[in-house]
Every structure is written in structure tokens, then in C-alpha cells.
């Protein structure tokens, strides 16, 4: 048994054979100028197109064969010296054929010559042809016949400036003709859905979509008619096309045709007929994807607006924005079961449109966001990820356009939209906002805006109810918090008073962040505060900040890793402070050093302590330079490193991390270079020897990282020695 496709192939082959066979005799008749025989065989040839067995795709193949043969026949018909019959008589003669399909193909063929001969007004012939074609009501055969009619008549329409235009033939006749053919073709096309072999719906729809361009071709022809000016488009073409679209009540056709209208006619026409075009949208079937249609329309208009500034006044004149906005509102209202993603997509398009057309109208942007909020508030919980993406797109669009978060902060509905995002997306959006600020280096300089901004990014600032803490990705979390920390630096105002307000607001928000966030954010806050305090020379304020920071460190930061991070930040910050007097500074550095020495792990202790050495040596013009205390710190670090080494020996019977020593060596070298008199070349020499001994001791595990570190450190010394000059001399005394 053959399956469907093989059967079809067979039938197609038979059809083609039939056409070839009859075409052979037709050619013979044409060569011998025998009209009767030519008519007979051409009709028989065209009878092959009467088949019902082929899918549209295969039928098209068959049709093309016949089409080629008809071109030859047309040439013969055209030359009445060959057959001696006037075109008027010929027009009647072909109508004697008994079968309708061959008869109408022949009639169209002769009709085209009839128009060319100008023996009758083009409109009469066209009208007759389009009317007679009604006889073929079979969808596929009818569509192809009418498509043949459209094909042969294309260059013979009484268009303005065409040779077929005359007193009796106007462009209106051309339009009427094409519209009628379009209407009939659309009816046939729609009918396929309800007729024909009762296949599955998908198959039928697939077959139909294979034929859609035959129908759409008519709209294309209409758009090519010179005489269809805006006036005619507005008064005749569009209303009649839309009438057909709405009345056919078929979702496939409506979607395709709406899109087709939007694509084939000029943007300028759309702009001037927006009301009519948009008015049709709520009348479409509920299953039609109106949002895509409208989106495409707005995209086109957006591009049009972007194409030239000259066209912008037109947009204003026709109030394009409010019309589109209304239409979208109506569509969303009418289509209750439109998924959220659809509605939001529409708003995204509208927003894109207004951003391009009216970049100055922030109220429009806010209005779109407001409408979106309204829609979102009717949805209990937005769970569709595609919808979510669209909301992100909606929120990102103004940021991209204005490159300036400050503008977005003035949009009252912006945070209200963000409220509807799920936690993950909310965070994502908050990140987008922060990135935008970073990218554009925008400085947020008023307390009000900072307040709004923190409202926007609150997803990053604190735990939100219902958030699933377990699912947090550690790395993402870090990145988020680092971003927040970076953001805090972008909040700045030279006015101490305003700056203080800003800091207070930031503090208010960050303090609720909980133990996981504080290590990231507090430091930035402190920095920011200190910068303000430092800049203003308000020692007591700065001191208060430090006190608070230390209190936080003591009370809030329990995690040892967090402590390490925090202490390094504190050291770093303190090092840069130049506002403190000796006493305060001493208190603070002492405290910091104390914290460092009390960290849990020896290695952490060691590193914190050697970092503390910098607190006594600020490499500025008038920075503190207390070489003795630097040395004390470093020696203390060495002791801790030693202790760590011994502990490791006791605990595991092997040597501890030699790298600590190398790190300390680097500090020695740093201060040596900077001219700290307390650091001598012999001390360095001694340290190097100590490290070498440690390295070679049997108990030490080979540590390639430490080896490399040491090697490169030694290379550096070597390099400095060879460099000569002051530095060379300094290093000369170190023997390797």
C-alpha cells in the first residue's frame, strides 16, 4: 500500500504527463495555425488542473506547468494573422468549453489580449473576468485560477499614467477589480478551513499557510497602484480591505492580512489612518494574535519616526501616541484571556514607540508604565517567565534610551512596576539599574532620588518575604552585594548637608540587610561616610563612624570569614584617613591592630597584622611615617607566622605555610624601598635565609606556589640591584 505522499507524487506525475501530452498536440495545432484544435487541446490540458487529489504545494507545481503552456497559447491568440479570428469573437469562442475550469483559464488568457487590443474598455473586461471566476468555488482551484487572473492583469490595470487609463477607465476601476479579486480569494481561502478533506486541523492550517501569499499578493498589487494615494487609501482601499478582514471571522486570515496590510502599505498611510486600522483590532477574533500585529505596527512606525526628524510633526498631528495607547487598552480589555505576556509585550512596543517618537515626553513613558501596573495588578501572581522577561524589557527601555537613571527615577510608576516582579527578576532588574548607573557614571546627588533608587533596588538590599534563601547562589549573591557596594559610591553630593542626608538614607536601608549583606555594604557606607567626613574635616563625625563600624564589627559580624573581609576594609579605610588627630588615630589603629591579632586563624591574624603596618606609614607628603611601629607590626606578624608553623608541625607533623613568610618579606622590601630606616638590609637578608631554611627542612611539604612566589621576589631584588642608582645601592648590601 502506498502512503499519502507517494500517492500524491504519483498523481502529480500523472497530471504532469497529461499536461505534456496535450501540450504536445496543442503545439502542433499552434504550428499549423489550427485554432479549433488549439482550443480543444488546450482545454484538455487545462482539465488536468481539475484534480482534487493534490495538496496546495503539489498543485502549485502542476499549475506552473500549465502556466508556462498558457504563455505560448497567449502568443498565438495575440497574432490574429495566424488564426483569423477577431479578439472579440475569440473571447466568445473560448466560452464554449463545457468544463468551467479550462474555460475560465482560457477566458483570462484571451481577456488579457482583449484588454491589450483596447477594443473594449479595460474595466469592462476586468469586471467580466473577475465576475466569471466566481464559478470556481473549490478553494484550491479557485485560488490558483484567481491568482492567474491577478498575474495576467497586473500590467493591464487602468492605473494613473498607464496606457489603459482613459475616460471610461479610471484608477478606481483598477482598485475595484483588485479588491474584488482579493475578497473572493480570501473567502475561498477561509473556506478551506471548513471544507475539503477532513484532515487534522494542523494539516489544514499548514496547507492554508502555504497559500496565504496568493491572497496577500492582491494587497501587494494594490500597494503598487500609482493612483492609490492617501486619499483613496483612506476612503476606499483600507475600509474595504478591513471590512473583509473583520467579516471573514477567521483567525488565521485575520492575523495574516492585518500583518500584510501593515507590511505592504507605506508608513505614512498607516500614520494617517491609524484610527481606522486600530479600530479593526478589537473586532478581530479573540484567538488572533493582535499583540503581534500591533507590535509590528508600532515597530514600523517607530522605525519610520527614527528615519527622519521631518516626519515627527506628523506623529504629533495625528496624536499617534494616544491613539495607539487607546487601541492597546481596548484590545487588552476586550481580550480577557490574553496572557499577561501578550499585554506586556504590547506595552513594551508602545513604550519603544513613544521613546523613539516623543523622547521628551516622560509623561507618556510614565503613562505606559502606569497602564502596565494596572494590568499587572489584576494578575494575582506573575509566574510566566516570558512575561517576566517582557517586564524587564519594559523597565530597561527607558534606561537604555535616556542612559540616565536620574530620568527613570522621576517616573512615578517605575517602582510600582518593579513591585510586580518576582524576587529573582526584581534582583535582576535592580542589577540592570545599577549597571546602567555604573556604565554611565551617573552620580545620584539628591536624597530624594537616593530614596527612590533604594526603593527600586530593595530586592538586593534586604531579604524579601517568601524568598527561598536556600536557592541563593553564593556567587550571584556576592556579585549583587558587590554591585550595591559600588553603587553606594555613586551617591554623592558636594554639599555636606545633602551628603549627610544621603548617607543617612543609605544607612537606613543597608542596616536592614542582615548579617550576610552587611560585610559588603557597610564598608562602602563607611567609606562614603568617611569620605564625607574626611572631606569636611569633621573629626568627631569621622570618629563616630569608626566607632559605629567597630561596634558593628563586634556585634554583627560573627562569621570568621566575614570578619577577615571586614577587618581588611577597616584597615584600608583607616589608612586613608587624614582627619584624625594623634590621639584618636592611635585609639583607632590600636583597636584595629587588636582586632587583627584576635582573628581566629593564625594565617588570617598574620595577614591582618602585617596589613596593619600600613596604618603607620602613609606614603603621602605629610602622611604619618612611624617606622618603628611598622617594624613592630612586621615582627609581630613574623611571630604569628612562626607560631602557625609550629602549630602545623604539632598538628600534622609537617611544616606550615611558608608563603606567609614570603608575604612578610614582601612587606619588608616595600618599606625598605620607601625608606623606612628601621627596616635594614640585614633584616631582609636574615628573613631570606630563614625562608630558605624553612623551605629545605625535611618536614616542609613542597609548595610550588610558595616556591614561585619566593623565586619572583628574589628576582625582583636581583632586578633592583642591577638597576643601579640610589635604589641599586640600597639593595647592593643584600646578598642572595
Amino acid at each position: 500500500m502506498l502512503n499519502g505522499t507517494e500517492d500524491e507524487e504519483k498523481w502529480l506525475a500523472e497530471g504532469i504527463a497529461g499536461i505534456q501530452h496535450n501540450a504536445f498536440y496543442m503545439h502542433r495545432a499552434l504550428d499549423s495555425n489550427n485554432l479549433r484544435e488549439a482550443l480543444k487541446y488546450s482545454a484538455q490540458m487545462l482539465s488536468e488542473l481539475r484534480t482534487s487529489k493534490l495538496s496546495p504545494h503539489k498543485y502549485y507545481e502542476l499549475y506552473m506547468r500549465a502556466f508556462d503552456e498558457l504563455k505560448r497559447l497567449e502568443l498565438f491568440f495575440k497574432d490574429d494573422s495566424k488564426h483569423g479570428v477577431s479578439v472579440v469573437d475569440l473571447y466568445e469562442l473560448v466560452q464554449h468549453a463545457g468544463n468551467i475550469l479550462p474555460r475560465l483559464y482560457l477566458l483570462c488568457t484571451v481577456g488579457s489580449i482583449y484588454i491589450k487590443s483596447k477594443e473594449a474598455p479595460a474595466k469592462e473586461v476586468l469586471k467580466d473576468l473577475v465576475e466569471m471566476c466566481r464559478g470556481v468555488q473549490h478553494p484550491i482551484r479557485g485560488l490558483f485560477l484567481r491568482s492567474y487572473l491577478a498575474q495576467i492583469s497586473r500590467d493591464k490595470l487602468p492605473d494613473i499614467g498607464s496606457e489603459y487609463e482613459g475616460d471610461a477607465d479610471t484608477v478606481m476601476d483598477a482598485v475595484d477589480f483588485v479588491l474584488q479579486n482579493f475578497t473572493e480569494m480570501n473567502k475561498l481561502w477561509v473556506r478551506m478551513q471548513h471544507q475539503g478533506p477532513g484532515g487534522v486541523r494542523e494539516k489544514r492550517e499548514k496547507e492554508r499557510s502555504e497559500l496565504q501569499d496568493l491572497v496577500g499578493k492582491n494587497l501587494h498589487v494594490l500597494s503598487q497602484i500609482e493612483g492609490v494615494d492617501l486619499e483613496m487609501y483612506k476612503e476606499t482601499v483600507l475600509p474595504r480591505v478591513l471590512e473583509q478582514v473583520v467579516n471573514c471571522k477567521d483567525d488565521l486570515a485575520q492575523y495574516y492580512l492585518m500583518d500584510c496590510i501593515i507590511q505592504v502599505f507605506p508608513d505614512e498611510y498607516h500614520l494617517q489612518t491609524l484610527e481606522t486600522l486600530l479600530g479593526a483590532c478589537p473586532q478581530l477574533q479573540p484567538t488572533v494574535d493582535v499583540k503581534t500585529v500591533l507590535s509590528r505596527l508600532m515597530d514600523r512606525l517607530s522605525n519610520y519616526a527614527a528615519s527622519s526628524a521631518d516626519v515627527l510633526p506628523e506623529f504629533l498631528q495625528v496624536e499617534a501616541f494616544s491613539k495607539l495607547s487607546n487601541a492597546i487598552g481596548k484590545v487588552i480589555e476586550a481580550q480577557l484571556d490574553m496572557p499577561a505576556v501578550g499585554a506586556i509585550t504590547l506595552y513594551v512596543s508602545l513604550l519603544t514607540f513613544t521613546l523613539r517618537v516623543h523622547p521628551d515626553r516622560l509623561d507618556h513613558v510614565d503613562q505606559v508604565l502606569g497602564a502596565c501596573v494596572k494590568k499587572l495588578s489584576n494578575i494575582p501572581k506573575l509566574e510566566d517567565s516570558r512575561a517576566m522577561k517582557q517586564v524587564v524589557a519594559l523597565l530597561s527601555a527607558p534606561l537604555e534610551k535616556y542612559n540616565d537613571i536620574v530620568t527613570a527615577l522621576t517616573l512615578s510608576n517605575y517602582p510600582r512596576v518593579m513591585d510586580h516582579l518576582d524576587i529573582g527578576t526584581n534582583k535582576l532588574m535592580a542589577m540592570v539599574i545599577i549597571q546602567s548607573i555604573m556604565k554611565n557614571n551617573s552620580c545620584i546627588s539628591t536624597a530624594d532620588k537616593v530614596e527612590v533608587l533604594f526603593e527600586l533596588i530593595k530586592g538586593l538590599i534586604k531579604d524579601i518575604d517568601g524568598a527561598d534563601v536556600d536557592e541563593l547562589d553564593e556567587e550571584d549573591f556576592k556579585e549583587e552585594q558587590n554591585s550595591v557596594a559600588r553603587l553606594i559610591h555613586m551617591l554623592y553630593n558636594d554639599e555636606p548637608e545633602e551628603m549627610l542626608k544621603i548617607i543617612c538614607i543609605v544607612r537606613k536601608h543597608t542596616m536592614v540587610g542582615g548579617p550576610k549583606r552587611l560585610p559588603f555594604t557597610v564598608s562602602s557606607l563607611v567609606f562614603s561616610a568617611l569620605r564625607a567626613a574626611n572631606g569636611c574635616d569633621i573629626e568627631h563625625v569621622a570618629y563616630e563612624f569608626f566607632t559605629q563600624a567597630f561596634l558593628l564589627y563586634e556585634e554583627e559580624i560573627a562569621d570568621s570569614k566575614a570578619q577577615v573581609t571586614a577587618i581588611h576594609l577597616i584597615i584600608g579605610t583607616l589608612q586613608r584617613m587624614n582627619v584624625f588627630g594623634v590621639e584618636n588615630r592611635d585609639t583607632l589603629t590600636h583597636k584595629a591592630t587588636g582586632y587583627s591579632a584576635r582573628l581566629l586563624k593564625k594565617a588570617d591574624q598574620c595577614r591582618a597584622v602585617y596589613a596593619c603596618s600600613h596604618l603607620f606609614w602613609v606614603d603621602d607628603q605629610d602622611g604619618i611615617k612611624d617606622g618603628e611601629r611598622v617594624l613592630l607590626c612586621l615582627k609581630r606578624a613574623l611571630r604569628i607566622a612562626n607560631a602557625a608553623q609550629q602549630m602545623a608541625n604539632v598538628a600534622r607533623g609537617s611544616g606550615g605555610p611558608v608563603s606567609l613568610f614570603v608575604e612578610i618579606l614582601n612587606k619588608y622590601i616595600y618599606f625598605f624601598e620607601k625608606g623606612n630606616k628601621q627596616i635594614t638590609s640585614s633584616a631582609i637578608q636574615g628573613l631570606i635565609e630563614l625562608i630558605n631554611t624553612e623551605m629545605q627542612s625535611d618536614s616542609t611539604n613542597p609548595d610550588s606556589v610558595a616556591d614561585a612566589f619566593l623565586a619572583s621576589t628574589l628576582r625582583y631584588i636581583q632586578f633592583q640591584k642591577q638597576k643601579g642608582g640610589v635604589m641599586g645601592e640600597k639593595f647592593e648590601s643584600i646578598k642572595l
Partner: protein, 317 residues
């Protein structure tokens, strides 16, 4: 020997010719033997003028009891073949009894002859007009010669010619309305019309328009009716769906749409038609019908037949 020849072959040849034979229109006529010959065409009230030439064979003397020419209009019914019924019979004496020695020409004239019926060659009946020349003789058989001619009568266009308009259908299945622009057509006419589909719930495959010719002969128990389909002309391929949606998804008819209409345009010239003959001499009738046939996908036929009147319009060309 000569006597014997004379017994089987007529002793003289008879030629019948029309005075305007060269200029008169000739039309084809199918003979009984199947051959088609061209014969002169007349219409009623014409004068039939011509001459008869009698030419004795071998200059042999022909004795006769007189020569006459008759104009006969005859109807022959095939169930009664060979029996001619003369509805017209005119006679002209051409010669008194005597002897013929040589070729002799006799002019004749039937002026303004009433020939109300047209020549007709049907399935069961034939109507013909002949000129019959008879040389009457004693003892031996008469010598007879025939010349057939054709009569066609022209009618002016009818003053009243109503359109035919009908609504037909099957309840809840099919409802159509059709109209033909006229009820009377001349032989080279065009049938123009339209069919409106108001409701289609049958899966229709196609629709044809047929021209049917109904010839009835005889009367009473001897009536023979013969129906022939002379034309089968496809009007529609596939069918519009109308009212299909009503039950499913789409309430109400689409706005501004009064039903699909299918055009009819059928040229009659390619078909061999005659005018409608109504009870010709109480012997026969020929009537024409338009039969609209709808065929569904199971090849069931639904049809509606309408009588039309055919008439012959004088061709101007």
C-alpha cells in the same frame, strides 16, 4: 433489349431547378442515407419559382398522360414509416397528355406559398417540403422526381420576455435561488443568469446547466416521447459554503453579504437547436428545457428543470 432497359431505367431525365438557385441561400440537409446535401432555403409566403427540364434518354419517345408538379409539405412519423401525411399540397399542370421527343423545359411558379411549419429532422418524426414532378403514364409506372427544400420561419423578438426566477431547495439542507434573464431565446442567443446560494449544507461537487430537448410524437396511447440532452455546461466547480458556520462558531450572516452568486453565461450558437414547435399539425411537439443540476460528493443529483421557448430570429448577417 431496349425495352428491358426501359423497364428498369426511366426513359427520361427530370431536372428541377429554382429560378434564383444561384443566389438563394443553401443549407445542409441530412438525407435518410446519412449523407448531407445542400438544399435551397425558403420561408413561408415566398414564391417558389423555377423550371422543370425533361430530357428523354436516347431521344426515345415518351408517351404520357400529362406532366404535373406538386409542392408537398409532409410529416412522417417513424413508427409509421413510409406513410406520409401531407399537410400542404399544391399542384401545377405542366403539360397535357401527349408525347415527348426531345428535351423540354416547363417553368413553374407557386406564388406566396403558405408554409407554416419548419423543416424538421427529429428522432421520431420528420417534416419535409418537396417538389414532386410526375409524368403520368398508362400501363407502365409513372416517372417521378423529387426535389427537397428547407423551410425556416423567422419570428420577431417577442414583445414580452419575462425573466425566469425561482427558489428551490431541500429544507435545512440546500436553498438556492436562480434566475435566467429571459424565458425566450433565439437560436444564437446567450443565456445569462445567476444562481444565489442561500444555504448549503450538502457537500456539492459541481453544478451543470443542461439544455434538454423533448420531442413528443403521436397522440393518445401512441405518444412517443424522446428526451435528448443537447448541452452539458459546467457552471460551478466546488460550492460555496453558506450557513455552514451557523451551528458552530459563527452566529448570524456576515454583514453586507447577500449570498454567493454564481454567474451563468451559456452561448447557444455551438448547439444544434431548433425553435420550439408546439403541436405541429397535431402530430408532434418539440420543447426545450434548461435543467440545472447539482451533484454532491456522493454523486447524487439534485435538479430543477425549466421550460424555455426557442425561436428563430432573422439573421442579419
Amino acid at each position: 433489349m431496349n425495352y428491358l432497359v426501359g423497364a428498369f431505367k426511366p426513359p427520361c431525365n427530370i431536372f428541377i431547378s429554382f429560378a434564383d438557385g444561384r443566389s438563394r441561400k443553401q443549407v445542409p440537409l441530412k438525407k435518410e442515407n446519412g449523407k448531407t446535401v445542400m438544399v435551397a432555403l425558403f420561408q413561408s409566403q415566398e414564391s417558389i419559382v423555377g423550371e422543370v427540364v425533361i430530357e428523354p434518354v436516347h431521344r426515345k419517345k415518351v408517351e404520357h398522360n400529362g406532366v404535373k408538379i406538386e409542392l408537398l409539405g409532409q410529416i412522417e412519423l417513424y413508427f409509421d414509416r413510409g406513410n406520409f401525411y401531407d399537410f400542404t399540397s399544391l399542384v401545377r399542370e405542366l403539360d397535357i397528355p401527349g408525347e415527348l421527343y426531345e428535351r423540354k423545359t416547363y417553368p413553374f411558379e407557386f406564388s406566396t406559398v403558405e408554409m407554416p411549419y419548419e423543416s424538421y429532422n427529429g428522432v421520431n418524426v420528420r417534416l419535409r417540403y418537396i417538389l414532386k414532378v410526375t409524368i403520368s403514364r398508362n400501363y407502365v409506372g409513372n416517372i417521378v422526381e423529387y426535389q427537397e427544400f428547407v423551410v425556416r420561419n423567422y419570428t420577431p423578438p417577442p414583445s414580452i420576455n419575462n425573466i425566469i426566477k425561482m427558489e428551490v431547495g431541500i429544507e435545512d439542507c440546500l436553498h438556492i435561488e436562480f434566475e435566467y434573464s429571459k424565458s425566450k431565446y433565439h437560436l444564437k442567443d446567450v443565456i445569462i443568469g445567476k444562481i444565489y446560494f442561500l444555504l448549503v449544507r450538502i457537500k456539492l461537487k459541481n453544478m451543470d446547466l443542461e439544455i434538454r430537448c423533448r420531442e413528443s410524437t403521436g397522440s393518445g396511447p401512441n405518444t412517443y416521447v424522446e428526451t435528448e440532452t443537447l448541452a452539458k455546461f459546467e457552471l460551478m466547480d466546488g460550492a460555496p459554503v453558506r450557513g455552514w458556520f451557523k451551528d458552530s462558531c459563527n452566529p448570524g450572516p456576515a454583514h453586507g453579504d447577500s449570498g454567493e452568486s454564481i454567474p451563468i453565461r451559456l452561448f447557444l450558437s455551438p448547439y444544434e437547436l431548433t425553435p420550439t414547435y408546439q403541436n405541429i399539425n397535431n402530430k408532434f411537439s418539440v420543447k426545450y428545457y434548461l435543467n440545472l443540476v447539482l451533484v454532491d460528493e456522493e454523486d447524487r443529483r439534485y435538479f430543477k428543470q425549466q421550460e424555455i421557448t426557442m425561436y428563430r430570429l432573422l439573421e442579419t448577417s
